[in-house]
Symmetry: C2
Subunit: 335 residues, 2 copies
């Protein structure tokens, strides 16, 4: 490996001069700089980020905290899109991305310790158990941190706008003439609470009375449970005319149940999903769903994190809401 010292020798200048020239310092004359840059390139010089970071205390490396929410290798398109978007945006700003676990070299350690060990300039928390003391420790430390879809007190977070999402869905369905709207929601999380509250708000503001029986719990991404909920809804004397599902996958469970009853979508019953994954676009009829802008969420988190890193003194914690949009498919009938 050729190093600064070798270049210095070849150019007959000092290592300090080479370092400065390579970093584009205005201290060094154009002539010298050119020569050094050229020589460095000829010799195949590659900087050493470890040495650099050791000295500067900056790594230009972002930690990425991603705890697989399903714990089972089942991938969520929502998260993989966010991950990809984070990677792309970080690259764009000249940052690398390193996964942060709670292990260092086999030994268990806290996430914070790990991030510090690797000298991360900051960490973006994409998916994690937000009640985990380790996560709280990380977020409350002086390590610049951005969390996605969860707000910590006085910390920066990027949120998919669940309020708006459910509001838009209800409004859309209402405008299509539906009054009997059922809502199946996922397991209890912050996000779920937001969505349920928003559902009720939206209904209230439209003066819609929704019977208790129209509101059911199921689980995200597990079609079976939404299938069961759907079956119960279909068994009601006064059936809903439209069902909102926890997410697009869950809808598949409802679909099976609806077909079993010999009903057709949207002629006999209308449905709406949530997420806007690829599947929703290739289904026929195409699914009406709320598309979360996961690309923008990833992008914004990196943007905010870098801002925070570069301006530690002046940066103010903020909650950014990222709007999605309604994807109008063919699954809601005009009544």
């Amino acid at each position: 490996m050729v190093k600064i010292k070798d270049i210095a020798a070849r150019c007959k200048v000092s290592v300090a001069t080479v370092s400065k020239a390579l970093n584009g310092s205005s201290e060094i004359s154009k002539k010298t700089t050119d020569k050094i840059v050229k020589t460095a390139s000829e010799m195949g010089y590659i900087a050493n980020s470890n040495a650099r970071s050791l000295k500067t205390n900056r790594s230009y490396n972002l930690g990425l905290l991603y705890v697989d929410p399903s714990q089972s290798g089942l991938e969520h398109e929502y998260f993989s899109t966010i991950l990809n978007s984070i990677k792309a945006e970080a690259e764009h700003f000249g940052f690398d991305v390193t996964f942060i676990s709670n292990k260092i070299g086999g030994k268990t350690n806290s996430y914070l310790t790990h991030a510090r060990y690797r000298g991360c300039d900051g960490v973006v928390v994409v998916s994690a158990d937000f009640k985990d003391p380790e996560i709280i420790e990380l977020v409350e430390s002086n390590m610049p941190t951005v969390t996605i879809d969860h707000v910590f007190n006085n910390r920066t977070s990027i949120m998919s706008d669940n309020n708006r999402g459910l509001g838009e869905i209800v409004k859309y369905i209402y405008e299509k003439g539906h009054r009997k709207i059922a809502f199946i929601y996922g397991e209890d999380t912050t996000v779920t609470q937001q969505r349920v509250a928003s559902f009720h708000q939206a209904c209230e503001s439209l003066n819609l009375e929704i019977p208790e029986a129209y509101i059911k719990q199921a689980y995200y991404h597990i079609p079976k449970y939404s299938g069961i909920a759907t079956r119960e809804l279909l068994a009601l004397d006064d059936r809903p005319t439209c069902i909102i599902f926890p997410d697009d996958y869950s809808y598949m469970g409802g679909l099976t149940e609806i077909e079993k009853h010999g009903l057709k979508i949207p002629e006999d019953i209308s449905v709406v999903g949530y997420d806007g994954i690829y599947l929703s676009r290739i289904l026929r009829p195409m699914l009406t769903t709320y598309v979360q802008d996961s690309k923008e969420i990833g992008k914004t988190s990196v943007l905010k994190l870098i801002e925070m890193i570069e301006n530690p003194k002046t940066f103010m914690a903020q909650q950014v809401f990222i709007n999605g949009h309604l994807q109008e498919g063919q699954t809601v009938k005009q009544i």
Copy 2:
């Protein structure tokens, strides 16, 4: 940040002793070691990987080269599962994972340069343009490298066993009594060529004569094209009784077409997918498909890479084939 020197001062020993103790060296007495470890913990000591790597030339950090194959943020479950599995396995062995791009701090650079800059111990190439000179440069360098689903001369690669996959599919369909088997394949790639060749081989070994018209090209993951191919197949005078699709998503395009023709699966026509994504399991009827063991693929690549890193002299390049398995759904009728 507390450092080794601080611990040394507090314990009244030298920094060398602290370093050795913290690394569990047998040189240091148990008593001293205990005291040092305890003090380090009390003082909240966190090692500095940069300083360590600088000195040891080892980073315990793996580079991850992942060029989004779709270039468009559309995620493939196959890859995201591999990524997740790589992350998990690396963690398990005490390695971190850093994404490798061809930029350093905004400036364009080769992948190899980037990996060296970050001091990666090795790189796993998950998805990339294998004809890209930069990729070739990386793989042919002395940087330990493992590639997934592509073989380079005298280099280690982990392959999903496409030969076996298609062979098993054909055999299964044949045993179900089908003789008129159609095959829709994806765009031209190494993987596609393998699959097409295997299809023919399998048919030959079963003495199956497949008419040209039963073999159609489409595109991976784009239902529309497989839909068109399906339409053409259904328009034939002598229709196939079973259609093999390029992948599970593509099947969705075929499904729409089949339903348009008023046909039912599997009563009127049988179908088989490829990949075994989550969707295939939640469809009803459940899709018969070949499940690629993407988790194992990720795991094995890390395993092999670490082997290579730890035994640079004795490690021999190898191609490892990872078998998948047939997921028997309800989409192939017994004739």
